[in-house]
């Protein structure tokens, strides 16, 4: 499981303003959604991996992330291969089954679209930690607020992110406590045992999360959260030349991507 509490070593990405990183993130998300060709996805993935390298984040995390989404990726690939309405037939595997939209053929377009969708998922999964792990949460919240995201929404987002490491730690403690009651989490293949163990983990974890959220609610209320005044921020952020450079590059990427898409590239 990924360690959400991990922060990157000092890197150029930490020097950037939170707003320029958020805008770049939004542009990457937009580009992966407007293209549906594996080649274009591969280019975006290469770009994201390059940024990952610049951010000095451990590449082992990418391996963990891919393991995490492996099953979903395989399902997406198989579904697209079988059900994408392609025109270049490669292999006939059965009679057509119109009721479920299956033509009976595996098509080239189906394979390419399936690969593109898996790459899309990988890009989204890999790009998100770049933001979280290179930006301290107060800076992230300030960036969201400066981008006119309502303060309450920004607070919910950053609080959720800040709670992830503590939820992970709590889950580890609960697992240890359950092990002491004779529960085994490593019963490979025994579906029912795993299901029972999951219930044993989830009940105290969810109840604990509810209790923590109630405590947080009281703590926030007692510290004037939601007071009907303009709040003061302790942090200040300013755009620097490197932020303008990043934004110019990002804008170029977005305009170029939209232009290519309008010309009909990046899809079938």
């Amino acid at each position: 499981m990924m360690n959400y509490g991990l922060k990157s070593q000092h890197s150029p990405l930490q020097e950037l303003d939170g707003r320029s990183k958020l805008i770049s993130l939004a542009v990457i998300f937009s580009l992966v959604l407007i293209f549906s060709h594996p080649l274009y996805m591969a280019v975006l993935l290469t770009l994201v991996l390059l940024v990952w390298w610049i951010a000095r984040l451990p590449f082992k995390l990418i391996k963990d992330l891919i393991q995490f989404i492996l099953m979903i990726g395989i399902i997406i690939l198989v579904v697209q291969i079988f059900f994408y309405p392609g025109t270049t037939n490669l292999l006939r595997i059965s009679k057509p089954v119109p009721a479920i939209g299956f033509s009976g053929y595996i098509t080239l377009e189906g394979i390419l679209f399936g690969v593109a969708m898996v790459l899309r998922l990988v890009v989204i999964m890999v790009v998100a930690p770049l933001m979280v792990m290179t930006t301290p949460l107060p800076e992230l919240m300030l960036a969201l607020v400066k981008l006119k995201v309502p303060y309450r929404f920004a607070f919910i987002m950053t609080t959720a992110l800040s709670l992830l490491p503590s939820i992970q730690n709590h889950a580890a403690i609960i697992q240890q406590a359950q092990l002491c009651r004779g529960i085994t989490y490593d019963a490979a293949g025994k579906f029912l045992t795993k299901l029972r163990a999951s219930a044993a983990l989830m009940v105290p974890l969810i109840l604990g999360a509810f209790r923590d959220s109630q405590t947080l609610d009281v703590a926030m209320s007692s510290r004037a959260f939601g007071a009907p005044v303009k709040r003061t921020f302790l942090l200040e952020s300013h755009f620097r030349p490197v932020d303008y450079l990043l934004l110019a590059f990002t804008l170029l990427l977005l305009v170029g991507g939209i232009y290519l898409r309008v010309l009909g590239y990046g899809t079938y």
Partner: protein, 284 residues
């Protein structure tokens, strides 16, 4: 004749995955029937050490033997039948829909027969005075009762040794007393007890051996009277003997007499404490 050790740690080092070395070259033996208290500042390695006693953590270097068996080769589910571990927060251990189901869960997991499970659950419910609450959802119980239930869950696996991580934390005076009485009863039945605590009066009153941890090493190890006499060393470790023990020491009482005097002073003090109802009335 020397008795066989229940726990034997030899040259134990433990390093967490983040690189923090929590234990340094620990060598320690615990014999059957002992009542050991582990004390020390937060981060001194108490919990890390006792989590080796049932295989929750495995040594980075060195060995830990539980009833002669190397924990590296055994699963927690196996060792938990020999060493029961009651966590500080009972809520981490509870997840069933009723007290009864909660107690029965462990025995079901280890494959006991239905009849045996039923008899065991009845006996534990009675012994821990939870029989009137058998159908209640565990999270509807008071903290004290949830702590008792957590003990009941571990007791249902019938271990020879119990580890209690800060059993009185968060409990009121009477809740704490009640759980300590329960632990004393287990000890009286011959079970080996290990507790982690910051409560020095509790150590003086209940434990027969004190292990003081500091920065992942054992700083002091001995009977409460031996350890509490090391006032200068305790001060260096930011610890302090209980006031009653210090008073008894200042009165010139020695060794076991110190603890007996301390207990006597405490009993006298308790005679003057108001009953629970009166205390609640005062608070209201």
């Amino acid at each position: 004749m020397a008795r066989e050790n229940i726990i034997l740690c030899e040259n134990l080092d433990f390093i967490y995955p983040n690189g923090v070395q929590a234990l340094h070259n620990i060598t320690l033996a615990i014999e059957p029937g002992e009542y050991v208290a582990f004390v020390g500042q937060n981060g001194s390695g108490k919990t890390t050490l006792v989590k080796h006693f049932n295989g929750l953590l495995k040594p980075t270097h060195g060995t830990v033997r539980v009833f002669g068996e190397d924990t590296q080769e055994k699963k927690v589910s196996y060792l938990s039948r020999k060493v029961g571990y009651v966590f500080q927060n009972p809520d981490d251990m509870l997840f069933c829909n009723s007290v009864e189901e909660e107690i029965a869960y462990g025995p079901r997991m280890i494959g006991l027969g239905l009849e045996e499970i039923g008899a065991k659950v009845e006996r534990i419910l009675r012994e821990l005075e939870l029989d009137n609450q058998r159908e209640i959802h565990p999270f509807a119980l008071s903290l004290g009762d949830r702590q008792r239930l957590a003990v009941a869950c571990v007791l249902s696996l019938d271990p020879e040794m119990f580890v209690f991580d800060e059993p009185t934390t968060g409990q009121d005076y009477f809740g704490g007393k009640s759980i300590m009485m329960l632990i004393d009863q287990l000890h009286a039945k011959g079970k080996t007890i290990v507790i982690i605590t910051h409560d020095m009066p509790l150590v003086a009153e209940h434990a027969r051996r004190v292990v003081v941890m500091n920065r992942g090493q054992i700083a002091l190890d001995g009977s409460p009277e031996q350890v509490f006499r090391q006032t200068a060393q305790l001060r260096q470790l930011s610890l302090r003997a209980p006031q009653v023990t210090l008073l008894a020491q200042n009165l010139g009482l020695k060794d076991r007499t110190i603890l007996e005097a301390a207990s006597m002073i405490r009993w006298l003090a308790e005679d003057y404490l108001p009953a629970p109802g009166v205390m609640q009335g005062e608070q209201a």
